[in-house]
Amino acid sequence: MIRTLRRWGWLFAGPTFLAFLVGFIVPFALGIYLSFTKFTTVTDSTWVGLENYSKILGDEVFVHSLWYTVAFTIVTTVIINVAAFAVAYMLTKAIKGRNLFRGVFFMPNLIGGIILGYVWLLLLNGVLAWWERSISFSEWYGFWGMVVLLSWQQIGYLMVIYVAGIQGISDEVIEAARVDGANNRQIVRRVMLPLLMPSITVCTFLTVTNGFKMFDQNLALTNGAPSRLSELLALNIYNTFYGRPGFEGVGQAKAVVFFVIVAAIAIIQNRLTTAKEVKA
């Protein structure tokens, strides 16, 4: 059967591979190449070596947005995971209406980032109007606005994963710990959290990469205001490509740097937390 199947590759893997070529491999390879050139379309590129990459280092807006994104990712990862775990922990207990509550907390995930951005723009600017300010008052207004928005959106998603993880812990383990005299806090810290490492791995992976890649919410909520100070990396790269003629090569070089950072985080983060996983 396998030998026959091998010959059917053109049918089973062919269509996906062709689309993959068009939608990923060619753009990726071309992207790497173009980061070493100066170009405006794709066909008029001339080789400039590392010039684009050296220009990045002198780009203060980019360096600012890099640190801004790092801070944003750290803050959102901590807040979202802690809150999602706390909510999941409470909602796995016998509380009336817990399924309804879980449903409510999950809901924002299904609404698109652009829409959520404008929903929160109304609310946040409405609140800030008390002090006669708006979200574009300073980079930190935008920062915390985006933190609130992303937390609101993602806590429910991670809560669902944590709930599944908590329900996967057998009652016997918890019971055994209780018989040994452990109190609730000890059970959470010494029994549940270690057993939940697989869920924590997935959840922190999701929040870290989502924080780094956030674009739509940033575009709708602040669009970089004031003066590009609230630009996260993804928006900074977008604006370099489409906002500054002649800087396409620099934009592509930034995109390569961005890719390397995200890939490195994904790999390192996965190694670190996977190593901490235990079995009951």
Binding site: F12, F101, G103, L206, F259
Partner: protein, 277 residues
């Protein structure tokens, strides 16, 4: 944390929390019925006889964004792309797992690699390639979504196929079935749970996606909902807040309806999709 000694108290606490949680959306709903000049000045007030605008905002919002057209294109793009992804990548995943030679393993590694590449890395070149191949319409974009979204789908499907015992296929071979028959008659029905999982994750992604369709589609002709909303902000000088609120409501209501309808599947799909990457 202490034991839940007062479950009723916690019900109250979570009820209040839930109300606060949906408040941002309720606020948009309230403002969608207000005259546009009052939305920025007093967003938290309920509409009164002076500020009440009835359905005016909805009429203007639908006209300005060509709402029904963009809704329709979003449906075409989401449904078409998702079906393409489900059909093609499930076949590919089965082929990869069963054939398992150097080609198959290399292909699998490329798909894994695809999962860690952010869209910004390929956005410029992808839009040029799509343009050259004339894929900038709601049907051509199916191929783009299949191509860029293949990684995650193949990854989830291969994980699932590995757990299917090979004996089932051997039995089907002895009964005289070829690979195509085996896949569609035997394997695909077994893969149903993972197909639902992938479908949910893809629908959530593609329905809400902004940048990929914005860069790939010919936006003079085709706008998705996200693009239409972003245009409402940018295209008319000062934003018509009334139309904006109405369109936001119109975009959110179908999503919530869909969610209430298929909540169980969505939650299960999200859990099943949270396999380790």
């Amino acid at each position: 944390m202490t034991t839940v000694r007062h479950p009723r108290l916690w019900t109250v606490v979570f009820s209040l929390l839930s109300l606060a949680y949906i408040y941002p959306i309720v606020l948009v709903l309230i403002n969608s019925f207000k005259n546009k000049v009052f939305i920025s000045s007093e967003p938290f007030a309920l509409p009164n006889s002076e500020t009440w605008a009835g359905m005016d905002n909805y009429v203007r919002g639908i006209e300005q964004t060509d709402f029904f057209a963009s809704f329709g294109w979003t449906v075409v793009i989401t449904v078409g792309s998702t079906l393409m992804i489900l059909l093609c990548t499930s076949m590919t995943a089965w082929w990869i797992v069963r054939v398992d030679n150097r080609t198959a393993r290399t292909l699998y590694l490329l798909f894994l690699f695809n999962m860690i590449v952010p869209f910004q890395m390929v956005m410029f070149t992808l839009s040029k390639v799509a343009n050259m191949l004339h894929l900038g319409n709601p049907f051509g974009i199916w191929i783009i979504y299949l191509g860029f979204g293949a990684g995650l789908a193949v990854f989830i499907f291969t994980g699932f196929v590995k757990a299917i015992p090979f004996e089932i296929e051997e039995a089907a071979t002895i009964d005289g079935a070829g690979p195509v028959q085996i896949f569609f008659r035997v394997i695909m029905p077994i893969m149903r749970p993972s197909i639902i999982t992938v479908a949910i994750l893809e629908v959530m992604w593609i329905w809400n996606d902004y940048l990929l369709p914005y860069l790939v589609l010919d936006i003079r002709k085709y706008k998705t909902l996200s693009i239409a909303i972003q245009y409402l902000k940018g295209g008319y000088g000062t934003v018509d807040m009334g139309a904006m609120m109405a369109v936001l409501v119109l975009a959110i209501v179908p999503v919530i309806a869909f969610y209430l309808f298929s909540q169980r599947h969505i939650i299960k799909g999200v859990v099943a999709g949270a396999v380790k990457g």
